[in-house]
């Protein structure tokens, strides 16, 4: 049981939660993730990246977007309540060294796992440029935190409601074209964004890492549900990754595999939302009646 000690809503559907997990807080390194289960009887196991950790306090911070049933259930938990099961830290830590100039590209919720990596790269003595991309202003997260550690921070939005109106690949390309070209690029975000980051840096021969977030069950190498094709070889994201050379990832194959349970997920989601809407309506109706009395 992992008690929630802080909860913030970062945007409409993005939440930050700090929870007790002393062992994970102690062992985790940048780039690792956890498997979370909202309830152990019927809940599913989903991978979430670790955005931050405080070994002294024995806490880790998760940032998640409510996209499925589990993340919705998590979002309903309040401070003082507990998450049934949190397993981790899983996956290999990011290899951190002094590369020189490191460019960290984060899209949407991907900025969360990118933060500890950018931090570690900075601490290792790299010049760190951070590109944050989001659909619109309300979805930009961790801007201040990133600004505090980055040598340069570039914010782009799809609709131009904040920062520059562009996709992350535009400033990334510009950075590859100037004198001080990146020595390493780390891209984390929606698969399609990571794919295009890989295509952007490929002609320049800039080493690019991507952190993959595939479907998983156990997260320990046992099920193989997370397998991806990397340079012609099958790898498991949970134990061989989650980071891979973005130029070797079979992005199209991975994108198709992510769709495996789409119909079930959508119907689950619908049921969940409808069920909760009913409950909400009932509560509202009750309150109204109560008020009238």
């Amino acid at each position: 049981m992992n008690r929630i000690i802080a909860k913030t809503r970062l945007s409409d559907d993005v939440y930050r939660m700090e929870l007790e997990a002393p062992h994970i807080a102690h062992e985790r390194r940048a780039g690792q993730f956890v498997i979370v289960q909202a309830d152990v009887e019927w809940g599913e196991r989903i991978p979430l990246t670790i955005a931050d950790a405080d070994p002294q306090r024995g806490t880790i911070t998760l940032i998640f977007q409510t996209v499925g049933v589990t993340t919705r259930k998590l979002a309903e938990l309040e401070v003082g309540q507990s998450i049934d099961a949190v397993l981790g830290p899983l996956g290999n830590p990011t290899h951190i060294e002094r590369f020189g100039h490191a460019v960290c590209v984060g899209g949407g919720i991907g900025v969360a796992p990118l933060y500890p990596i950018a931090q570690a790269l900075k601490n290792a003595g790299n010049k760190v440029t951070v590109i944050i991309g989001a659909r619109n202003k309300s979805l930009v997260i961790l801007e201040e935190e990133m600004r505090a550690i980055a040598d340069e921070l570039i914010v782009v939005t799809d609709d131009g409601s904040y920062g520059r109106k562009a996709l992350v690949t535009e400033p990334l390309k510009e950075l590859c074209q100037v004198q001080d070209t990146p020595d390493i690029v780390v891209a984390i975000g929606p698969p399609i964004m990571m794919k295009f980051c890989a295509e952007t840096t490929r002609p320049f021969g800039v080493k690019t890492l991507a952190s993959l977030n595939t479907i998983m069950v156990d997260g320990t190498g046992m099920c193989g549900g997370c397998r991806v094709n990397i340079g012609g070889e099958t790898k498991f994201v949970c134990v061989d990754g989650p980071e891979f050379d973005a130029h070797l990832v079979d992005w199209d194959g991975m994108l198709l595999r992510l769709r495996a349970y789409k119909p079930q997920e959508e119907s689950h989601n619908r049921e969940y939302v409808e069920h909760h809407q009913c409950r909400l309506d009932a509560i509202v109706a009750n309150n109204r009646e109560g008020g009238a009395r």
């Binding site: 062992h23 994970i24 062992e27 549900g225 134990v239 495996a260």
Partner: protein, 495 residues
């Protein structure tokens, strides 16, 4: 195997028992008694529910079956049992109606009889050398030791008579067990009995290892596994769930920081093998581990309650011929598949699955495509599985192991439509713990190296079960656990 209905079996057993009660039976009389078949749910019914398939003997059946035992002096069956249960001893007590006494005999060497009675490959172990089977010229007519073991264990559970093993006063020593599968649970019980403090670390949210994520409800009800774990808790064993030793806590930290005097590693095989053929990453191809974990541990079969989705299938191909392949095929049927095929490169005789599981699968309508194996998974432009390209084989000369090896028939490739492919060709060792534990030596295949007492090359660390043996069976894992526990107890005594 299942031509008679449960009630017919019960009635005729009762009549047989009445006929022999009070009589002194000669060996000839015993040999003439009919083998007691296992009452089962009707195939057409059970193929669509998760309830247990085999229903267990009635009392009369158990006593008739026990009366078949010749009580051989040399007891070849005991040598066939990996944990050396006194088989004639417990069977004699069943014949006498002393079920409690029978349970006590079994418990001397086997702590999980309700599980072993259900999942052991008895026809290859204790029942293989049975004198009666040899005399009647078929292992099918051997004394049904596994069914009797199950009867005794279930009977004891039903009357609530399972006594708690006694626990010695606290020794002040602490033992960590990594993995809560059959090996880990066995070690926990044996070590705890000596008064040592025991903590079991388990990565999943429930204890039991392969018995909860792999073996389906219809073959091993999860309530039985839960009871065994609860029994250990009542003995004072503590479970630390959702803890992956090697990641959440390094193994070395258990020894050097957390104050454990000894560690047992029983983490299982846990890395699924794939065929390494084109198309294997298409949507609709699953390892049996994934398919069964979703269905069993995550209970995805209950779509009304479970959040975990499972792939909707109509035509399923299962690749492999072991117990896991049978479990996957029968699970697919229960999840609503219209047609399920098992593709196996050899023939029924060579299949490693328990004979009873193969028979049950056939009764339920699983189609067996022997002497065939795919060369490619076919898919559409969305990378969704549409079928398999299958190559036919014939059996050639016996190889070094005596098994006739399959020879591919050239030009026999043909395409068969499927929407789901489940790969059940075995597991390799999960490298995670060895990778994160310096000094824990493994062989080329990743199996942890141990000596005759299950001791690894690391000081104060023992190992057993599939991580040592490669993918094997519940009972072999328990046998290793018993040896390791004896060695750990011996070591702690001297400390």
């Amino acid at each position: 195997m299942n031509d008679a209905s449960s009630s017919t079996l019960a009635t005729s057993a009762k009549a047989t028992l009445d006929g022999i009660t009070g009589r002194d039976l000669s060996n000839r009389d015993r040999m003439a008694l009919p083998v007691q078949e296992m009452p089962c749910q009707e195939p057409a019914v059970r193929a669509h529910n998760m309830g247990e398939v085999a229903l267990g003997y009635t009392e009369a059946q158990a006593r008739v079956e026990a009366a078949r035992c010749l009580q051989c002096k040399n007891a070849p069956c005991i040598a066939g049992c990996p944990v050396s249960i006194d088989i004639p001893g417990f069977i004699r007590r069943v014949a006498e109606g002393d079920y409690h006494g029978a349970a006590e005999v079994i418990r001397r060497t086997n702590l999980l009889p309700a599980i072993c009675g259900r999942v052991c490959p008895q026809e290859a172990q204790c029942q293989a050398p049975c004198t009666l089977g040899k005399a009647l010229k078929t292992v099918d007519k051997a004394v049904q030791i596994g069914r009797l073991e199950r009867f005794v264990a279930d009977r004891e559970r039903a009357v609530g008579g399972v006594p708690m093993p006694s626990v010695a006063p606290p020794s002040g020593k602490r033992v960590a067990i990594v993995g809560s599968g059959p090996a880990g649970l066995t070690v926990a019980a044996d070590v705890r009995r000596e008064g040592h403090e025991v903590v079991i670390y388990e990565a999943f949210q429930k204890p039991g290892g392969v018995m909860v994520y792999g073996i389906p409800e219809f073959r091993l009800p999860k309530a039985i596994v839960r009871e065994e774990a609860e029994k250990l808790e009542r003995m004072g064993v503590r479970f630390e769930l959702n803890t992956l030793v090697g990641r959440t806590r390094p193994l070395e930290a258990l020894l050097h920081e957390d104050g454990f005097d000894a560690v047992f590693v029983g983490v299982g095989a846990g890395l699924p093998k794939f065929m390494d053929i084109p198309g294997e990453n298409y949507v609709g191809v699953f390892s049996a581990n994934e398919y069964l974990t979703r269905a069993n541990l995550m209970r995805a079969w209950d779509t009304e309650h479970a959040d975990t989705p499972i792939y909707p299938s109509r035509r399923v191909a299962v690749l492999g011929g072991g117990n896991v392949a049978m479990d996957s095929a029968r699970m697919a049927l229960r999840l609503g598949a219209e047609e399920v095929h098992v593709l196996y490169r050899r023939t029924r005789e060579e299949m490693p699955a328990r004979a009873e599981e193969v028979a049950h699968a056939m009764e339920e309508g699983v189609v067996f495509d022997f002497l065939s194996s795919p060369t490619e998974v076919l898919g559409d432009d969305k990378a969704i599985v549409t079928g398999l390209r299958v190559l036919s084989y014939r059996l050639g000369e016996p190889d070094a192991s005596g098994r006739r090896s399959p020879v591919a028939m050239e030009g026999s490739e043909h395409d068969v439509p499927f929407d789901t492919v489940i790969v059940a060709i075995g597991n390799e060792s999960n490298p995670l713990l060895a990778k994160t534990t310096p000094g824990l030596e493994v062989d080329r295949k990743g199996h942890v190296l141990v000596d005759a007492s299950q001791k690894t090359r690391l000081d104060r660390v023992w190992a057993g079960g599939d991580i040592v043996l490669g993918a094997a069976t519940v009972i072999l894992a328990m046998g290793e656990g018993r040896r390791a526990a004896a060695a750990i107890n011996e070591y702690l005594k001297g400390k």
